[in-house]
C-alpha cells in the first residue's frame, strides 16, 4: 500500500495523534508519518543534497518523535517541529552526504573548459550540485538558516521559533551564509 503524501499544511488530527502518541500509541506515529514524511523528506533532500542520507534522516526524525513529542508545545505546528528536529539531527548526515558527493564528483570528473558553458549553468542538476557543494563549505548553523529561509522560504521569525534562537541570530546567520556562498560561487566561476 503506497504511503500517502499529505498536501502542504495538512494538520488535521495532528493534535489527536500527538495525544495518542504521548500515551505510547505507535499507530499514531504511523499516522503522523503519513501526514508529514513528504515535507520532512523535502527539507532533508534540500538540506543534504543526497537521497540516501535524506531517507536516513527522515527515519531518524520519526524514530525520535515519540520521545521528543513531550517537549512539543504546539507553537509553529508539528511540521515545523519535525523539520527543526531534522535540522538538529542532520549534522552527521551532512558529513556522510558531503563525503558521498565528494566521491561521486571525483569519480565523474572529466576535463572541462572553465568557466562553465551557459547551457551547463542552466542544467538543473548541475545547479543543484553546485549549490550543495557550496553549502558543504558552510557551518551547520549557517546552512540551516540558509536552507530554511531561502530554499524553504520561511520567515525569520518562523525559523527563530523553530530553532529556539532569537530572530536577530537567524538574520545574522543568513547574512553570513549568503556572503560566504557568494564568495564560493565567485571562486567557482
Amino acid at each position: 500500500m503506497p504511503v500517502a503524501i499529505a498536501t502542504a499544511g495538512a494538520t488535521r488530527d495532528d493534535g489527536a495523534a500527538i495525544a495518542r502518541l504521548r500515551t505510547g500509541d505507535l499507530a499514531a506515529l504511523g499516522e503522523l508519518y503519513d501526514q508529514h514524511h513528504a515535507a520532512v523528506r523535502t527539507f532533508a533532500v534540500r538540506f543534504l543534497g543526497d537521497a540516501t542520507a535524506a531517507e536516513d534522516l527522515v527515519h531518524d526524525v520519526f524514530v525520535a518523535l515519540p520521545e521528543a513529542v513531550g517537549s512539543y508545545r504546539g507553537d509553529g505546528g508539528l511540521r515545523s517541529f519535525l523539520i527543526a528536529m531534522a535540522a538538529n539531527l542532520s549534522k552527521n548526515h551532512v558529513r556522510a552526504a558531503a563525503r558521498r558527493r565528494a566521491l561521486a564528483s571525483r569519480a565523474a570528473e572529466e576535463p572541462r573548459p572553465s568557466p562553465p558553458r551557459p547551457d551547463e549553468l542552466h542544467d538543473r542538476g548541475e545547479l543543484s550540485n553546485r549549490l550543495q557543494r557550496a553549502l558543504d563549505a558552510l557551518s551547520h548553523d549557517h546552512r540551516v538558516a540558509f536552507v530554511l529561509c531561502e530554499i524553504e522560504e520561511r520567515t525569520s521569525p518562523a525559523v527563530a521559533t523553530m530553532l529556539a534562537v532569537p530572530e536577530a541570530t537567524v538574520r545574522t546567520r543568513l547574512f553570513h551564509a549568503k556572503k560566504r556562498l557568494r564568495e564560493l560561487l565567485e571562486n567557482d566561476r
Binding site: L26, H59, H140
Partner: protein, 297 residues
C-alpha cells in the same frame, strides 16, 4: 543576492523529490520506534519481572508437592529463559506489514524489540562525534566479519529428543515468545521431516529434499562472491522450506546477502526480527550490531 545564487536557489526549490522509499522507511521507522518503546518499558519493569516469575514458579511447585517441584525443575532445565510479558504486547503495536522484500517467502516478523541509540530532542542541537565512520562503512565491515559466517548444518539429533535444551525457532510466524515450552510430542514432530545430511559421511535415516537447496545457497553465500545470486538461492530455499529447521539461519544469511548486494533497506528490514529476539535470540547480537551500524551516521 547575485543572479547565480538566485538561479541556484530556484533550482533547489524546483528540484523534484523522490518519495519512492517512503513505504520502506515507514516500516523500518515503526519497527525501530517499537523497539525503543519496549526497551524503555523493559528497563522500567525488569527489576520486578524475575522476582515475580520466581515467586510464581516456587508457589506452584510447593503447591504441587515433591513431584511438582521435580517437574518444575525439569521444565526449567528444558525451557528457554522466560521472556518479559511485554513481548506479546509488541505484537499488538507493530504494524501488520510484510517485513520481507518482495518475492521473498512471507512470514510476518511483527514483534520487534531492540535497544536503540539515544536520540536528541529539539530544539537543543544534537551532539555527535566528528570522526565516526559512515554507516555504509560500518555495514561493510560488519557483514565481512567471520562471526557472520554460519556453519553448514550437521545432524542435529538433539532436536528430536524430548529433552532438547533450546528449541529452535522453527515456527515463528505470529508466535509469541511468552508461549509455553514445546511438549515432547511437538519437539519430536520434526523428526518426520528427516534429518539433515551429515557432513561426516554417515548415512542419514531420512534425507530432507530441501537440504540440497540449503547447501546450494550456503555455497553461493560463502564462496560464490555474487551477493545477488546468494539472495536468489536463499529465496529458493525459504520458498521450499519457510519453516524448515534451517530457515532462521537462511533468513539471517539472506539479510546479509541483501546488504552486500546493495539492497540496504530490504536487508535492514530483514535483520530486525533477529535484533528484536523474535528468533529466540538467534543472531540477536550480530543483527543488533549491524542495525546500530546502519543507523549510526
Amino acid at each position: 543576492m547575485s543572479d547565480l545564487l538566485d538561479d541556484l536557489v530556484r533550482a533547489a526549490r524546483e528540484a523534484p523529490v523522490n518519495h519512492d522509499e517512503a513505504e520502506a522507511t515507514r516500516r523500518r521507522m515503526l519497527a525501530a520506534a517499537t523497539r525503543e518503546t519496549h526497551t524503555r518499558s523493559r528497563r522500567r519493569l525488569s527489576p520486578w519481572v524475575l522476582p515475580l516469575v520466581a515467586a510464581f514458579v516456587a508457589t506452584g511447585a510447593l503447591a504441587a508437592g515433591p513431584s511438582g517441584v521435580r517437574l518444575v525443575t525439569q521444565w526449567l532445565a528444558a525451557a528457554p529463559a522466560p521472556s518479559p510479558a511485554l513481548s506479546s504486547r509488541s505484537l499488538a503495536l507493530a504494524p501488520s506489514s510484510g517485513a520481507l522484500a518482495q518475492g521473498a517467502p512471507s512470514s510476518s516478523f511483527e514483534d520487534v524489540d531492540r535497544p536503540a541509540a539515544a536520540t536528541p530532542l529539539p530544539p537543543a542541537p544534537a551532539s555527535a562525534p566528528n570522526t565516526a565512520p559512515t554507516s555504509d562503512e560500518k555495514i561493510a565491515a560488519a557483514t565481512s566479519e567471520p562471526a557472520a559466517i554460519a556453519q553448514l548444518p550437521t545432524a542435529r539429533a538433539s532436536v528430536d529428543t524430548p529433552t532438547a535444551t533450546s528449541p529452535k525457532p522453527a515456527s515463528f510466524a505470529g508466535r509469541s515468545s511468552a508461549s509455553p515450552p514445546p511438549s515432547a510430542a511437538t519437539i519430536a514432530a520434526p523428526a518426520a521431516v528427516g534429518s539433515p545430511p551429515a557432513v561426516d559421511g554417515t548415512a542419514p535415516a531420512v534425507v530432507d529434499p530441501t537440504d540440497e537447496l540449503y547447501r546450494t545457497a550456503h555455497e553461493r553465500h560463502f564462496r560464490g562472491g555474487d551477493a545477488s545470486a546468494a539472495v536468489t538461492a536463499w529465496d529458493r530455499y525459504l520458498a521450499a522450506a519457510p519453516r524448515g529447521r534451517f530457515a532462521p539461519e537462511a533468513r539471517y544469511n539472506r539479510a546479509l546477502a541483501l546488504l552486500r548486494a546493495g539492497r540496504r533497506a530490504e536487508g535492514l528490514v530483514a535483520l530486525e526480527p533477529f535484533a528484536n529476539g523474535a528468533m529466540g535470540g538467534y543472531r540477536q547480537a550480530e543483527a543488533t550490531r549491524l542495525l546500530d551500524a546502519a543507523r549510526a551516521p
